[in-house]
């Protein structure tokens, strides 16, 4: 070959050799592990569009890990978190899950926020017999043998919320949601509950994710004049929705609004004065009065600054770490199969009060609460449910 093309050869090949050699080495490190340490995978979006929700959860999870280590670790081993960035990109989540399970060989992973990311990693956990703790409220319709769900699934919050609203002269409901699975499932449950309670649904609207122009939907609400608006609008859309609702005079005085997706963290973005007076249904509120919670909140503020607010997903992430620890100790082993088996009916006195993993369905028994947003971005808890059984596959 000619000299020039040989130079080409050298350049191209050398780059590619680098590309092939490096993965094993520098850029994809294989962490060595001391005998008295155990890894715990944390898989969340640290970059991209969902980072705004997941970054806070990681903080809570890290804090739980520190607490446990300070108290002597799990079975005498210190927990070493291995944080992977899902980058708000579902295939990346699957890729990283695989890395955690196959390269880092973590006995458990706490992670995922959106259902899409969870769906993306499920096959990986199935194939590699991994264990995932999923710390976010979600639509249910799932019961994966490799997953423990540490937050409320749809029925737990929606049914409680609907029953309570019905009690507050809730004869007519208007559902507004972002156009994806969580809102659609919630509304299905809500509709069934409404009919059971003899109330009626006078409207059901979905806005594309990221939609910011709600005036038409708001007009539809005004036309329908419901007693309650039940909202599952998420993300940036939600901010726009609340602002436009308020501006249009639907400030919660005549038509009341309740959302199952707004925690203290969302209020931060919506703006305190835009959210005040609206209701939210969550498993956890920062304003819960209990020694565990005051300790928890104080710890968060001490670690991440006094302006930090704590929302439901953070607390569920925090609980997840402990639920894993307790299950491991019950099983006296890090072996995934054993831990899953032991998880059944594991109890933890969480900041939100007692949570118990269900005997069979991998979700948690928990209370849900309804709060009314205050001017300071916190919630006045106006209702607290009984300890509710998780029911991911409701018969509707």
């Amino acid at each position: 070959m000619s000299l020039s093309s040989r130079r080409r050869f050298i350049q191209k090949s050398s780059t590619l050799v680098a590309a092939t050699a490096l993965p094993g080495a520098a850029l994809w490190p294989v962490l060595s592990q001391a005998a008295d340490e155990v890894k715990l995978g944390l898989l969340h979006s640290m970059s991209g569009t969902i980072a705004l929700a997941e970054a806070a959860i990681v903080d809570a999870e890290k804090m739980a890990i520190d607490e446990i280590n300070a108290a002597g670790g799990v079975l005498g081993k210190k927990i070493v978190p291995v944080l992977e960035d899902g980058a708000s990109d579902w295939p990346t989540f699957a890729e990283k899950a695989k890395k955690l399970l196959q390269q880092d060989k973590v006995p458990a992973v706490i992670g995922c926020y959106t259902s899409a990311s969870r769906k993306a990693v499920l096959p990986v956990f199935k194939a590699n017999k991994g264990l995932l703790y999923y710390p976010t409220y979600y639509e249910g319709q799932e019961e994966d043998p490799q997953v423990i769900y540490t937050s409320q699934e749809a029925t737990q919050s929606v049914v409680a919320a609907m029953e309570w609203m019905a009690k507050q002269q809730g004869k007519t409901f208007f559902f507004v949601g972002s156009d994806y699975i969580y809102p659609r499932t919630c509304n299905k449950i809500a509709k069934a509950t409404a009919t059971r309670l003899g109330s009626s649904v006078v409207g059901e609207e979905y806005a594309p994710l990221g939609h910011t122009e709600f005036s038409s939907i708001i007009n539809k609400i005004k036309a329908a004049k419901p007693d309650w608006i039940y909202s599952t609008v998420v993300g940036g859309s939600n901010v726009a929705f609340y602002k436009q609702l308020k501006a249009a005079g639907l400030d919660g005085s005549k038509q009341k609004l309740l959302s199952t997706v707004v925690s203290e963290n969302e209020i931060d973005g919506i703006g305190k004065d835009n959210a005040v007076g609206y209701y939210a249904c969550m498993g956890y509120f920062q304003s819960i009065k209990s020694p565990e919670n005051e300790k928890f909140v104080a710890a968060i503020k001490a670690k991440y600054g006094k302006d930090r607010v704590v929302g439901d997903p953070m607390e569920c992430g925090y609980n997840a770490v402990y639920l894993w620890k307790l299950a491991v100790e019950k099983a006296k082993s890090f072996d995934v199969a054993k831990v899953i088996a032991a998880s059944s009916e594991v109890e933890f006195k969480a900041p939100e009060g007692l949570v118990r993993i269900h005997k069979t369905n991998h979700h948690v028994w928990k209370k849900v609460r309804i709060g009314r947003a205050r001017a300071d971005g916190q919630f006045d808890i106006v209702h607290e449910s009984q300890l509710t059984e998780p029911n991911p596959f409701p018969k509707l």
Binding site: A51, Y206, Q244, G271
Partner: protein, 300 residues
């Protein structure tokens, strides 16, 4: 549909027109008159929003009593900042791409990614809160059952103001004349002694500044996070292309048509269908009028 709803729906259409027009005016100038495909236009709007956010915070810290007036300062400041940033962009990036439209498209897209990540690093990934001036809060009720949100009325008024200013600038001033001259024949314009470099820079900066105003105003009704710009960019381009490039009147008209269709469809069907329907209609119309609604016939 009751009469009240009809009025409010009509108002929604009008206010959405204002929103579309405000966000596409800047692009209509940059793309329409200069032929620069600025994919970072949305990020310039986001910049305007973040400037507003900062101004609001300054007021909260320094003059908490007169915080209600912050928006009146925020808008011009947002304009100024994005204007200057626009000049910088023109000088540092855009000017290397004149007459290479497709490369401009890709380069500015890259720029938009960098800006997004910058916002994320500087302001954090979460939504930022921007207080609402109390005098823009709530709605007026011209007659019973019809509430017209004050902030939307404000937006409509401001849009009319800006649009009028832009119109006068381009059709009644020397600068406007120069810009139009350049758009029609750069070479000739140079030979008759127009400093095209300078005019280009100011035109682009102006377009950016208008984006800044839009971004600043949208903090009243929308959300502000690093990705905000992405939400607007495609719609903005659709408005401009649909209206017919190089025609500010066209942009105004297409804002109106698109807004009316969108709000009506949204009311009749669902938001998702509305978006799809609208897009299909736009594509069909663009098929029959490839140069948009207002396309000047010229002798090739």
């Amino acid at each position: 549909m009751s009469l009240e709803i009809f009025w409010m729906q009509l108002f929604s259409g009008v206010s959405y027109t204002a929103i579309l027009l405000l966000m596409s005016l800047g692009l209509a100038i940059v793309f329409g008159l200069m032929g620069v495909i600025n994919m970072a236009h949305g990020e310039l709007m986001a910049l305007g929003a973040y400037v507003t956010f900062m101004v609001a915070n300054v007021f909260l810290k320094i003059f908490p009593h007169s915080v209600d007036t912050y928006i009146l300062f925020a808008i011009p400041i947002a304009f100024l900042v994005t204007f200057l940033f626009g000049m910088f962009l023109e000088w540092s990036v855009v000017r290397w791409f004149y007459n290479r439209p497709l490369d401009t498209l890709l380069a500015t897209w890259g720029l938009s990614l960098i800006l997004q990540q910058t916002y994320r690093t500087v302001f954090g990934p979460q939504e930022v809160t921007i207080p609402m001036a109390s005098w823009l809060d709530g709605a007026i009720e011209p007659f019973a059952g019809v509430q017209l949100p004050l902030n939307r009325i404000f937006i409509i008024a401001l849009t009319l103001l800006v649009a009028a200013a832009v119109y006068l600038l381009f059709f009644k001033t020397r600068m406007g004349l120069q810009v139009r001259a350049i758009t029609q024949n750069r070479a000739i314009a140079e030979t008759v002694g127009i400093n095209t470099r300078q005019v280009d820079m100011y035109t682009f900066a102006l377009g950016s500044g208008l984006a800044g105003i839009a971004g600043s105003v949208f903090t009243m009704i929308g959300s502000t996070n690093p990705g905000t710009g992405q939400l607007y960019i495609v719609d903005t381009f659709i408005v401009v292309v649909f209206g017919g490039v190089a025609s500010i009147m066209g942009t105004a008209l297409s804002s109106f048509i698109i807004a009316q269709l969108q709000t009506t469809f949204e009311f009749m069907t669902t938001s998702s269908y509305a978006k799809v329907l609208l897009m299909l209609i736009v594509v069909v119309i663009l098929y029959f009028r490839p140069n948009g609604l207002f396309s000047p016939k010229v002798r090739s």
